[in-house]
Subunit: 141 residues, 3 copies
């Protein structure tokens, strides 16, 4: 469910930092009950001449686009809590970089329009979802 | 309208398979009345070190992001039907690959905020849309 | 807030044209009151073998995906106005290219699920937003 696409300019992340960030993001979702394999993280390096903020090319930029599918926030306060939760995942990895523009936003889409390995994932909080979380695989249920 | 963005790890698709999959996807939308040129498919190869599932790099992954604009499902059952319809497009191309994580989700957005070649596409099911489908071009109407 | 992702086939834009287009897009959002740094533009070159329209590879294609976060249109007529406004930003840069398929769509997402440099941006039209626009930086408020 969560799909994180992380656009970044060269030099922000090396191989090891990407792995560590992807693992850390996954840890956070696991803590709230999601199967680890629900979390997909794609890194996409973008050259400064392809990455503009305010109409100007930037040499240090990170733009994160997050799709939330398995869970939806019911109201404004819970959406804001989610934003602060995401901030806490990213900030330790990014605050060390001077002059960085970093930004994220989340889109919430329907879990009815989602499949993993051809299977519609089980309802949130169901026993089947707990089994998926425990086994960390998508099995027919 | 449908925009399919297909992120995949190296070795999943060769040139010919990409063409075949894009054509097959388009066939399905044409069958339900859409002009063929509404269907845009973008393939995006992602190295394993940039593609994480559950916080770990994967060597065989396909993550499909679909934007539906021209048509919107009115309720849960029709959304689930749409998901199964999309599964049937993808599965024959993907089930041959051992150990593959493949996943898709669909976002539904407003057809008011959409233009092709500077033209707002005609209403769903209208005579103008049928003309666009028959001629397979965006012409003023 | 607006995130523009511009997928294009090789030869459509050179470095200078990308910069000019990114600046022009930003000018338009600034005119309606947004801080310039709210506008992020990412260019993504896609080889013809990875870019399909109607199931066939295209040699001249531009597909623009726009996320609107800070502002949301209240009704159909304002959405259509927004689409025409975006068309006017793109058309001068694209109409010179013979045989081009160009297309855009906009998704509207919640401003509660959005942060820049770890800060939730101020409410639309607020004094704090005007300060951000005047200083062109994200400062605590």
């Amino acid at each position: 469910m969560p799909l994180w696409t992380i656009h970044y300019t060269p030099g922000i992340f090396d191989e090891e930092e990407k792995h560590r960030l992807a693992a850390r993001i996954t840890d956070h979702y696991e803590e709230v009950g999601l199967p680890r394999f629900y979390v997909v993280t794609l890194f996409h390096e973008v050259r400064p001449g392809d990455f503009y903020v305010g109409g100007e090319p930037v040499t240090a930029g990170v733009r994160v686009v997050i799709d939330h599918i398995a869970r939806r926030n019911p109201d404004r306060e819970s959406r804001r809590r989610t934003a602060r939760w995401i901030k806490r995942m990213l900030q330790p990895h990014l605050e060390r970089i001077a002059g960085l523009h970093w930004e994220f936003h989340v889109d919430e889409t329907s879990d009815d329009l989602w499949m993993i390995n051809g299977i519609a994932p089980p309802p949130p909080g169901s026993d089947a979802e707990k089994l998926w979380a425990a086994s960390n695989t998508a099995t027919p249920y």
